[in-house]
Symmetry: D2
């Protein structure tokens, strides 16, 4: 079977496994108080050009969104997100579980617009009954978005500027950040993200780690007792070293970028191949997720040879699917897939 | 430094790392829908002699307690636990975070007594105002307990019998279950636990895995949509294979028991050596955690050579510490520690 | 000042005050276990032609929505509501506070459409990743809606039918039910509501009581231990008699309907008067809330003589306001208001 | 039947009913924005000699405890209470419902001891793993306690002093405050309470109102957006006037104290009469709740003539019951009860 279902189908980059093996019998304190976590944090600070950043390692993406958002919001506040945002759609209500509403803004190719955000804020504060409503308390964006799209530097800057005007922390979900950073079509760097955001995470799970996400608070602004908050959410890993060692490896000799770049190369190849064969793209994505419209009949055929993700119905006879490349995608599989179509 | 701080200081048993490496590039579906999870579940069912058991893999212990207990309890119910239970003391309020009270019973060497439980239930239902109180909705026990002690088969049976009389699900926290099962002083088997309990988990993190706990619902009685519940708690691992492969390895050729037995051997050696040197034991523990009373002065000395856990003050001049052995403890370290004392 | 701000500006109908005074020194058990509550329940059962109905009295509307919805939903479920629904907009996140998402459907004059609901359900169950999403667990409608509009019997029937097909409890927020039932333009009776819904409340606060809402579970289907659930939400009134006596009075000799009818008469008079003066209606409402578009300049003038509710901006120079009549509105005030405009 | 079941069996003091009737048709804004609330607040500020106090009216006691405690605590904090505290025993888990643990201290006649509190705080901060535990975030005391006992001024001062040392807000549950203030055996005034506490409530429900509790933040220290927090908890009353008018009446010409004093007089009479007849008191209470031990046989007899509260079993043949007097207790009923015994 050709594996294009998602970007977390394989294990981890071999360099990570190797580091796990090398350090395996060293005893280290738990809960992130180990030298590997320390080392990884230092490397991430350097990569973000944020020497004062606080960095905290968590296990998964939904968990990270839940813990960070709940740590930031006051009880009567909600988080603003694109209607298509992961926190609004595909996290089984993990945000609401912690007592907070997701305040949905219209999505434009998966992104929110600074203007929409500003309108929301203006309208909220003008409303004479706003004390009976959920206060917008922070902003969530994903980059790349759930549709594989990217914010431009200018867009980020504008959103950040509205956020600062209204004192809304800006939080970026970087589950696939490596693929965003290495896209041919981006002008956004880690440093830019650190500058524009108040918190963000560098996704490990989808970019070559066994598990793990590194939350960055770029200006040393991690909420107080964040470790306790994580523990209370069931999110504190006992063997924190598992996360530290992996991120240490990912940020040694550019492995994180290398993993990102490989997926982008594979996606480009796939895109070109499918376009050449006249395939219909549902959305234009400059990253590793590609959304395509296929005839249902064709899909039944493909299903025998390819694992893909069902996305949504297109019309009676067509369906949107997602094909994802990753750090682990084999060039020959891309070729085989193009042949098949 | 001699490492006796806890049983999660090292990485994982090498056989686990090896299996992770061997399967690394195989693509598999996420969220536990992979062949390794399936295989591991089958082996766990066999080990528990519970062919109909549902098995679900989670990442850590506090998380597992939180998700299972919240899944079982109705909103107006609380969980009964020994006052010394992990859920009552050392989980940063993770149970209350999900809206439920921990109803504490007196601890007897870390254990609850069936009689105390029965009294609680009788008193609750007799109280004319019980509808204004938290309903006892399930029972939590740990085995080994937080003090390293073990329930006897008879004790488990009695607790189970009260639970069944009052229709209280009985849940066993087996974070260190491997060490309990392999103790010289136990008459309790996995099969017994499966018979007496409605849910329990087989701890991986502390018995030689990188992370991971296997929750077992021995009679196919996993709460409906448990995967969604886990996701909502931020507890669903994307690369479920990481858990499946590890438990598959642990339940292949008895590795789990081997790991357990090694820690028990090391603990016996340590106990005997320390007793011979006249050390004062704070509690008698038949498993891998040993609690000792030391003079504070002596501790300052030890601290330079040994990593141990501070437990609690004993009196002005003495302190209780915990020394834990594990699957990874080296015999020469035990000897060196005995020499030091 | 002319009072058209809302329908809860005055105290209570004098017959209610009188009954409170008459019964004042009688001692009665708390928490609803008094003869007045019993009597009121019996009268409500009769009014709903639902002899097996469970009835429970709560203090306010947001509270009632929160308690009922939380009592019905499983932890991983959310409540479907019109985007304009009170639970989605004006309850400060009281639903999310209890851990549940509000799943918004498009509003059509404040109402949901059975077809939209069916589409939502079909799409949810077809989605291969629905276990990662919030399960639609019940349906919330308000009648009259937040825009004063009403469901027809046929619309209710259709919605109810979709609900039953998908086993979704249907819950109706009747904060202003008295005004809905007495509208000239309704074909819906209390009996119909009891037939189509699984739970609903008969609003007292806005229809002439000091406070209080009567939740009806028409087929004896009140969730188990609902009193405890209410208590846990801080919603159980100690002197339950305060609610029982009021609802007893409201359902004696048709006072509830009389109160409703009066507001409808006043609203008709107001509507006709304003229409005759060429006022622009923002929405057509057959009940006691009227939404009008005024020039901002005109509003500044009105503000000196009339208390109205700001609703939303219409355009740069116009604003939508709400004028509400109630059981207490004086005909001469309506006339004076019409004169003023 | 003689009514000694509790202090919330009757309606309200007639002066309250009268004020409700007098103001009934005046239109006023909702949610506490009415002149009566303003007036009542001013009178309460004067009574507490706290000119800068914020005052907020809520409906009931459990609700008030829940909203205030949740508003004060950070997510990872719990509230310290006597093990016998209402929040720990008889509120159906309303505190845990909002995500917070109740940290129980031993009770001494229903009271906590400053020394125990200090020990708890010292032990917490000394514990090397305190970041894995629930942080003590505020202190709850009730005055009178659940056993009718009272803190002395000195005891309050000591507790307050420990609280300030550890920056713990001190919150006093004054459900029966009127009865405490008017006890012969108290040296504590409203002013003292305002000085020692950071928040407290003056109970209306049990001291002659239909419903209502007045929360006082004596130094203008009400948590920001407290109205929104109340709304989110379902605790904001639409017709806030109902609470304002009642507290306005209670704090006009000393009605609150008069109500309190009456119950104390009745309790003294009852105590003396029962003592003279050789009755056994379970606890010594200087307020309106009296706890007595009766033979079960005797109780069966009494039950035919008196409504009392079951408290707890004493031994096989005896039971503890509570007899409560109130603002509404009739002297002749006290006499009749004494005769009966």
């Amino acid at each position: 079977m050709l594996a294009f279902e998602n970007d977390y189908s394989e294990g981890a980059h071999e360099k990570i496994l190797q580091r796990l093996a090398e350090t395996n019998r060293e005893a280290a304190s738990g809960y992130g108080n180990d030298p590997y976590c320390e080392q990884a944090k230092e490397k991430i600070r350097a990569a973000c050009e944020s020497p004062n950043a606080d960095v905290f390692f968590l296990v998964g993406g939904t968990q990270t969104n839940q813990v960070v958002i709940d740590a930031y919001l006051k009880s009567y506040e909600g988080v603003v997100s694109a209607s298509s945002g992961h926190v609004n759609c595909h996290e089984a209500g993990a945000i609401e579980f912690t007592g907070h509403k997701v305040l949905a803004l219209p999505e434009h190719d998966g992104k929110i617009a600074a203007g929409d955000l500003e309108d929301l804020m203006k309208k909220f504060w003008q409303d004479e009954s706003h004390e009976h409503m959920v206060f917008p308390g922070m902003v969530y964006i994903s980059h790349p978005t759930e549709y594989g799209t990217l914010y431009s530097k200018k867009e980020l800057q504008e959103i950040s500027s509205v956020c600062r005007q209204y004192q809304l922390p800006l939080y970026l979900d970087g589950a696939r950040l490596g693929y965003g950073l290495m896209s041919d079509e981006t002008d956004v760097s880690l440093k830019d993200i650190a500058e524009f955001c108040d918190a963000f995470y560098i996704g490990g799970t989808k970019v070559g780690a066994l598990c793990g996400e590194a939350v960055v608070f770029p200006r040393g602004n991690m909420p107080k007792y964040f470790l306790t908050i994580a523990k209370q959410h069931g999110a504190l890993l006992a063997k924190g070293r598992l996360l530290g060692i992996q991120f240490d490896a990912l940020f040694t000799n550019g492995l994180y970028y290398e993993n990102g770049r490989h997926a982008i190369e594979m996606a480009k190849k796939l895109k070109e191949g499918l376009a050449a064969r006249g395939c219909q793209f549902f959305r234009q994505s400059p990253t590793n997720q590609q959304f395509l419209v296929f005839e249902n009949k064709k899909l039944e055929e493909l299903r025998r040879h390819v694992v893909y993700s069902y996305w949504e119905p297109y019309d009676e006879e067509h369906t949107v699917i997602r094909l994802a490349t990753s750090w682990a995608t084999r060039p020959e599989d891309v070729e085989a897939l193009i042949e098949l179509v």
